[in-house]
């Protein structure tokens, strides 16, 4: 059975760590404060509230600092002759096969942070659903453009 072998750009781990830390600083910390006050009120016991809030905070930090390298490790993709194969997921694994001729259009997206690091996200749209049917989240800009051009050439028939 064919195994996809292309991997993401290694810089994504850095990107994900930074963006998730920022998100934690902006949303996570205030939420933790609210959670702590709410729990200590609900349980009338601040030790319990500390423990639970501690779980939440450590979970968020785990997701922010440890997870990205795992996600990078378990992400593979490959463009085969007639489909795009994507493998992803650390705990919840997913293997997707998207036939090239079903691709309607391909988008590349870059947030501000991604632009700084030079990474783009590739999103594939088929006739199924309004959201992207498949996406490759961390490619070097040139790779993303190249992939996008290659995929667009072969798409178009949605059989609908």
């Amino acid at each position: 059975m064919y195994e996809p072998d292309s991997r993401l750009d290694p810089n994504v781990t850095f990107l994900w760590r930074v963006s998730r830390t920022i998100r934690f600083a902006v949303f996570g910390i205030p939420f933790a404060i609210v959670l702590f006050t709410g729990l200590s009120f609900f349980f009338q016991n601040w030790i319990l509230a500390v423990i639970l809030t501690g779980f939440f905070v450590s979970y968020q930090l785990l997701l922010a600092w440890v997870w990205p390298s795992l996600e990078y490790r378990y992400f593979r993709y490959a463009i085969r002759e007639h489909d795009l194969l994507v493998q992803q997921g650390v705990l919840f694994r997913r293997l997707s096969s998207i036939p090239l001729h079903r691709i309607q259009h391909v988008d590349t997206r870059q947030g501000p942070l991604e632009r700084l690091v030079g990474i783009a996200r590739l999103q594939l749209y088929t006739a199924a659903g309004m959201n992207a049917d498949g996406s490759i989240p961390g490619l070097a800009e040139e790779d993303a453009e190249r992939l996008r051009d290659e995929l667009s050439k072969r798409g178009g028939d949605d059989g609908v």
């Binding site: 489909d83 493998q87 293997l95 199924a128």
Partner: protein, 552 residues
């Protein structure tokens, strides 16, 4: 995008298109003047739906005196708005058939223009409510894949005019001579059957809502009154209350079913499925056979006992349109079980599969664990909620009996799961209390995926999900090796499919015109073979991944 045509007829299609484009511009047509009257009520509802939060805020906020005048002006202005929209709609809506497309424009301040390609039309619906009938008019609704759906726009046309548009659009897709024949309906539903359909629907939801409302009222009452009422309520009274709630919801569902589906009829006319139904408002939906994508046969245990099931016919137009979730284009409320095969053969002949005569492949034996786990979790949640709700009563802990009951149900669910992948179709079946069977035309697959939760990885299970334009079909849990094999087979089919499609073959790609063999997997693999596979390979490439060296 062009519809797929064989290379030999490509030149004919081009010629036809050129000929049509040379034709003179067709005049723009408008709605019948009676639309001013007919559309008033629907337009009022539309306007209300758009602004009801504001309305609610203003009408129920605590205000001082003199607000009655303000409220009145508010209501009047809403009506004026609705009337204005109806009038402007009548005056600005124009449509015509030009070339291979239906063109439409409407709107006073914000002009909108829509173009519908005849080949993209998934189904055409003609609706006639009592007001329409007064004037001999109908509403024409057209659904396509994507956003160009027409609902509430062509809302008052002469019946003959609507038919003319419908026939012209169909003829553009299939330029064949169409003789209008009075065909014998394939299937009819009697009044009794419709009533039974209503009663056997899912009524638990209504009861939950009633209970929730009741408990809300409880909480709003002051504590002493509430305690008094609670002490009055004993087991018999509560049981009586639930019985009343159930029968009330049954009556309501039966009435609603009658209103929507009375006089249901299914016919096949020149490669088009046509369903007609409705008590006051007659709906007639026409779906071309080749646009049928997915058929779902739903058999809740009550309906199954009676010997019936409900059949949903879906095209690519399924999805969200104008803010409403469209469930399916064609619904056959009550189909007799021994006629399932016949209906599927008529509705989707291209699938060439019959899940009621052909045996389906079973799920992986270990999928039973997952079925049990899921049912257990759900029953624990439901029963603890019920216990908490009924805590004042001594018998409240009896609600925990739901948990052991769920175990045999989980086993039955698993036993009835089945799947099949042939050259033409994907079949999936699951459920005992609610049995659903899905049949998907294999040519309509947009993408295929395999999922594994940590629990599934631990047991070597995998779940195939097939995405089509509209809905997804989920297969029962099978072994991961088998799942990957199936995915590979899809890839092979896409090789041959691409050859048949009209996509131009660019010089840098090999011209693969030989048919690659795609096995019909349903036949070969026996049950023994399945269990053998699963013991050997368990994870999605966990081994292959870890043999890599460095981690960045």
């Amino acid at each position: 995008m062009e519809s797929s045509t064989l290379p030999e007829t490509q030149s004919f299609a081009d010629e036809l298109r050129r000929h049509q484009e040379q034709q003179p511009e067709n005049p723009w047509l408008g709605l019948h003047p009676a639309s001013l009257f007919i559309n008033l009520l629907p337009q009022t509802f539309q306007t209300l739906r758009g602004v009801w939060p504001i309305l609610l805020v203003f009408l129920f906020a605590d205000q001082g005196s003199g607000t009655e005048f303000f409220d009145l002006t508010l209501i009047l202005s809403f009506f004026a708005l609705a009337t204005g929209r109806t009038i402007s709609h009548f005056f600005t809506l124009r449509y015509r058939i030009q070339g291979e497309r239906l063109e439409l424009k409407h709107g006073l301040l914000f002009r909108q223009s829509r173009t519908l390609d005849a080949s993209r039309i998934q189904n055409i619906e003609i609706v006639q409510n009592p007001l329409h009938k007064l004037f001999g008019l109908v509403e024409l609704r057209i659904e396509t894949a994507g956003d160009a759906t027409l609902h509430g726009l062509l809302s008052a046309l002469h019946q003959e005019e609507a038919e003319r548009v419908r026939v012209s659009l169909k003829r553009m897709v299939k330029p064949t001579e169409e003789r209008k024949q009075e065909t014998e309906p394939l299937l009819k539903n009697s009044v009794l059957e419709i009533l039974l359909y209503g009663i056997t629907g899912r009524n638990v939801g209504t009861v939950v809502v009633v209970t929730a409302v009741g408990s809300e009222i409880f909480s709003l009452m002051n504590p002493t009154d509430a305690r008094e009422v609670a002490s009055l309520l004993d087991f018999q009274l509560l049981a009586g209350f639930f019985l009343l709630a159930f029968s009330g919801s049954w009556l309501w569902s039966a009435g609603r079913a009658l209103f929507r589906h009375a006089g249901f009829r299914l016919e096949l006319q020149a490669d088009n499925l046509r369903t007609t139904e409705g008590l006051l408002t007659r709906r007639s939906v026409e779906i071309p056979q080749n646009k049928v994508q997915l058929i779902e046969v739903s058999e809740p245990w009550t309906r199954r006992l009676l010997g019936f099931g409900t059949i949903f016919i879906e095209t690519a137009a399924f999805g969200i349109a104008d803010g409403n979730l469209r469930r399916a284009e064609g619904i056959i409320p009550m189909a007799e079980q021994d006629r399932f095969s016949e209906v599927i053969q008529v509705a989707a002949p291209q699938t060439q599969v019959d899940p009621w005569t052909q045996p389906l492949l079973p799920p992986h034996p270990r999928a039973l664990y997952r079925s049990i786990l899921r049912k257990l979790m759900r029953s624990i949640v439901v029963s603890s909620f019920l216990v908490w709700l009924l805590l004042p009563y001594s018998w409240a802990w009896g609600a925990l009996i739901i948990i052991p009951i769920s175990l045999p149900l989980a086993y039955l669910d698993w036993k009835w799961q089945g799947w099949l992948i042939t050259d033409q179709a994907i079949v999936s079946r699951r459920g005992y209390l609610l049995r659903q069977t899905w049949i998907l035309d294999r040519n309509k697959i947009q993408s295929a995926h395999i999922y594994q939760s940590p629990f599934m990885r631990w047991h070597g299970l995998a779940q195939i999900v097939i995405r089509a334009a509209g809905s997804d079909v989920v297969l029962p849990d099978i072994g991961i090796a088998r799942a990957k094999k199936e995915l590979e087979n899809f890839h092979q089919q896409w090789t041959t499919q691409r050859v048949e499609s009209s996509a131009p073959i660019t010089p840098d790609q090999p011209d693969t015109r030989e048919q690659l063999p795609v096995e019909a997997l349903g036949d070969e693999i026996t049950e023994d073979e399945i269990t053998e596979d699963e013991i050997t390979e368990d994870e999605i490439t966990e081994d292959e991944i870890t043999e890599d060296g460095t981690i960045h």
